[in-house]
Symmetry: C2
Subunit: 192 residues, 2 copies
């Protein structure tokens, strides 16, 4: 249990067996069915979720009803409405399962206690957030400088697994395009 979680943790910050056991007491497993919500806009995000198995998405809904996907998560990734989690404000994002999924949850109180008790947890968090920040920065640059085709090509190269597992219209939404535009961009790429 929690194998992948600790594998990823150890890649960033190596843990002793005792430390692993200690962390385990703070973790909660959770299974989610396809289409089931982990978090709904308006609720407070009460935990950080690590994906042991499955696939989820995080998205907001604009006034006109358009879904805007801001993040995907598959095995080994972490997902949460961090702002809501940290501040206790209502979430502005929704998170739901795109496939049946198995998660590892870390509640707010667990998070706070681990920060107090285990410096390695803070290091882990820092590295995690730093990585997410750098990835976002690249993404923003690509949105501002690349054409839809280039963006899609770039995305498939960076995240081939995601292209396999999420439907096209979600990937379009993630890239800020309409499904039609993405479909046409794909055709152009193929014809080369």
């Amino acid at each position: 249990m929690y194998e992948l979680f600790f594998r990823k943790f150890n890649e960033k910050v190596p843990l002793t067996h005792e430390e692993e056991e200690m962390i385990k007491t703070y973790l909660t497993p959770k299974k989610l069915r396809r289409k089931q919500y982990l978090l709904q806009e308006g609720d407070v995000c009460k935990s950080i979720a690590f994906v042991e198995k499955g696939a989820l998405r995080e998205y907001s809904i604009a006034e006109n009803g358009n879904e805007q996907i801001i993040q995907f998560a598959i095995e080994g990734w972490t997902i949460s409405d961090l702002y809501s989690f940290l501040t206790g404000e209502p979430a502005t994002y929704n998170i739901d399962a795109v496939e049946d999924s198995e998660l590892v949850l870390l509640s707010k109180s667990a998070h706070e206690e681990l920060l107090r008790k285990l410096p390695k947890y803070e290091t882990y968090l820092r590295l995690q957030v730093t990585g997410a920040y750098l990835a976002l920065q690249k993404r923003l640059t690509s949105v501002n400088t690349l054409s839809p085709e280039e963006r899609y090509a770039n995305f498939t190269q960076l995240y081939p697994e995601l292209v396999q597992r999420f439907p096209q219209h979600m990937i379009a939404s993630h890239m800020g395009l309409t499904p039609e535009t993405l479909s046409r961009a794909r055709r152009k790429i193929k014809s080369k």
Copy 2:
């Protein structure tokens, strides 16, 4: 000296007098003239810069020569090519001064020693990066969901100081618009 730096640090993580003195030994002041580079694409980013006074910008240059501004920084903000700083790879961004500026620099070795010696520094960093991450997330959402007018209105509301101190064409670049489009968006807003 370094007043603003420690004010901001203490807001996030309170320090004792001794700790402040200790940190001071790792800091280096630097003055920059308007238009002077702090970092040029291709060089390795050797420090994190805190702005005591002045205004800077961080940007990349696309093949076609277009400048794409990814960040501004004024008093109290921190600026750096974090990826280059952490990995030692050549920087993909340029940083230069838009006004004469006074900076506080933290070198890579200082950064690493502080991480080892002072847990509060790691906490400070974590909070700093987390804040930057959340801000970027909001920015990405606004790029994908708002019209140019809404985006500019949003920006002026969020960062009125920046609108005062940076020329329009830089703000346009920051928002991923051409100067012409921003000019027209401003006119539309005024006419309401």
